[in-house]
């Protein structure tokens, strides 16, 4: 039924949006396409899984912890990989390549250590409650997903607009050299952005792992294509764009799966990506970069 589909789509879309937030944040601020981002997604999920299994932690503990650990891992990995790149101003392609290599190595390492079978959260990790509204079934899990996504977006927005850290991040995004000259500690700000981005990715990992009940080391990689699509459609570096495009994509995918076919669903992200690149490469909210001499 249509309304049920739309609800499911909104849920899926929220996860896409959440996943893409951290990704687009790091691009908007650091002008870096950080492919290791997908790894933090997996890290969050596995940390939460570990806590749920060995310490019988509930989601209210596992989610924040998973996100936290992912954020910390992000700070470490990003500083190792990206400081050098940023110092030599080697450009976006170099950061793409480095993070590409790194993420591959990291995924493979994780796969070798943990194994590639699909794992699931233990039964009872989240209450099985659900509600019915006029024929539409909404489960606690789904509410949790959308709720968390919205909450995190709101927190991120407030952080960026109302706090001093947010101001520093926005200054850095505008003009790194000027920010440095203003006395902003660029390295610390970069670490904060890395942390935030990893945190968001990790949170997305837990929630998506929960939504599909499937966790394996390469899960981040599968999301990356959707992530690319969302950030390009939304506009590189734009947070509103990531939100809108993510939700849009989620809804479209569910509707396509329901009314056309399951296989067509896979093509939705790519088709819209291609159309965007063709007709409006800057995306919904992106600003065209003027080429300078």
């Amino acid at each position: 039924m249509l309304s049920q589909q739309i609800v499911n789509g909104l849920v899926l879309g929220s996860t896409y949006a959440l996943f893409s937030l951290g990704f687009t944040l790091i691009f908007g601020v650091l002008r870096v396409i950080n492919l290791t981002y997908g790894f933090y997604f997996s890290v969050g999920a596995f940390v939460a899984l570990y806590l749920a299994r060995s310490m019988e932690a509930s989601i209210w503990v596992a989610l924040p912890t998973g996100a936290l650990v992912a954020g910390l891992v992000a700070v470490v990995v990003d500083s190792v990989l990206l400081t050098r790149i940023r110092r030599t101003k080697a450009g976006e392609l170099a950061s793409l390549m480095v993070t590409l290599g790194a993420v591959l190595a990291l995924y493979a390492l994780m796969a070798v250590t943990i194994g590639t079978e699909i794992q699931r959260f233990p039964f009872g990790f989240v209450d099985n409650t659900a509600w019915e509204f006029g024929g539409v079934r909404i489960s606690l899990v789904q509410v949790l997903i959308v709720g968390t996504a919205l909450a995190l977006v709101a927190v991120l927005f407030l952080l960026l607009q109302r706090t001093r850290l947010g101001l520093m991040i926005r200054a850095l995004a505008e003009n790194e050299d000027a920010a440095r000259l203003m006395g902003i500690n660029v390295d610390a700000t970069v670490m904060a952005v890395s942390f935030l981005s990893g945190f968001l990715g990790g949170a997305a990992g837990v929630l998506i792992g929960l939504n599909f009940n499937a966790i394996q080391p390469f899960m981040g990689e599968a999301m990356m294509l959707r992530g690319f699509a969302v950030i390009i459609i939304g506009g590189l570096g734009d947070i509103r764009g990531a939100l809108v495009a993510g939700v849009l994509l989620g809804v479209l995918e569910v509707l396509t799966a329901g009314y056309i076919s399951s296989t067509a669903k896979e093509a939705v992200a790519f088709s819209i990506l291609v159309l965007t690149l063709w007709f409006r490469p800057v995306g919904l909210f992106g600003r065209a970069q003027a080429k300078k001499a």
Partner: protein, 283 residues
């Protein structure tokens, strides 16, 4: 003398697959060299290779087209695809091209898996006759390397290096930027498609999972390891990285890890790769 000949024969027999792979990967290395020599980053070589492989295999298996026609067609189809996706992305910064080509590979994989009746789905296509012998593969490889060498020592080679160093300045020199970018992408697609078809006609089997993201990254690591100073450099990089797993057999599981690490180390510390030579650009 006969002992040598016997030994050579034995050697070739035991390692035939490897030697074949070395040649095919050499062609793939040249394919990415094409675009990287201009300063572009296309990660579509694996995707184009897949298109060439499936085209070639289908032409041979389902339509019985003679091999001398199959090869050029296996190069032509990927070239057309390159024209279609390259055109619009030309106006954008290199990152968009990289993303578009990554996406292409993934989508094609979904296509191959789902178009079961044509592509054999997840099981792929098997029973492809052996038509590509070592002479053909290496012959083509040598011709291509020489071709790149001669082109490199002309205004085209200078234009390419100029674009890699400073695209804006190259444009001001009069280099037709869109033409060169598109040309490089198309050439790269042709080489990759050729490599795919050659591999298909010697490995007997192709499947949908061989041409995805991981493979594209492996091809990238050929060029990153060897460098792009001369056309031969990435080929050597390819040979080293192809032969390495044989040498490091116990580390089989870590192959992807090593590939990934090579890329990281190369970009961070060896921006020119391990081959330090640079092609002279004047005759």
């Amino acid at each position: 003398m006969t002992n040598m000949a016997e030994w050579l024969d034995n050697f070739l027999f035991t390692y035939e697959t490897l030697i074949h792979a070395l040649g095919v990967n050499g062609l793939l290395a040249l394919s990415i060299y094409c675009v990287m020599a201009l300063g572009q980053l296309s990660l579509g070589q694996a995707a184009f290779q897949g298109i060439g492989a499936y085209t070639g295999a289908l032409l041979t298996l389902k339509l019985g087209v003679p091999f001398w026609l199959v090869l050029p067609l296996s190069a032509l189809v990927p070239a057309l695809v390159a024209l279609i996706i390259g055109g619009p992305t030309l106006r954008l910064s290199g990152v968009y091209l990289a993303i578009a080509t990554i996406a292409l590979g993934e989508v094609l994989r979904i296509l191959y898996v789902n178009a079961e009746s044509i592509t054999g789905g997840a099981l792929g296509l098997s029973g492809i006759p052996r038509k590509a012998d070592l002479f053909l593969v290496y012959g083509l490889l040598v011709v291509c390397v020489v071709g790149f060498w001669t082109i490199g020592r002309s205004k085209i080679g200078r234009a390419m290096e100029a674009m890699r160093e400073d695209e804006v300045a190259a444009g001001v020199m009069g280099v037709n930027l869109p033409l060169y970018k598109l040309g490089a992408l198309v050439a790269s697609a042709m080489l990759a498609g050729l490599a795919g078809s050659l591999a298909a006609h010697s490995n007997n089997f192709i499947g949908p999972n061989e041409y995805g993201f991981e493979h594209a990254v492996t091809i990238l690591s050929f060029a990153l390891l060897g460098g792009i100073g001369t056309p031969l450099a990435p080929v050597i990089g390819a040979m080293v990285l192809t032969a390495l797993p044989e040498v490091l057999r116990p580390l089989q599981d870590f192959r992807l890890v090593i590939n990934g690490l090579i890329i990281v180390v190369a970009v961070l510390f060896l921006p020119r790769g391990i081959i330090p030579f640079r092609l002279r650009r004047t005759s």
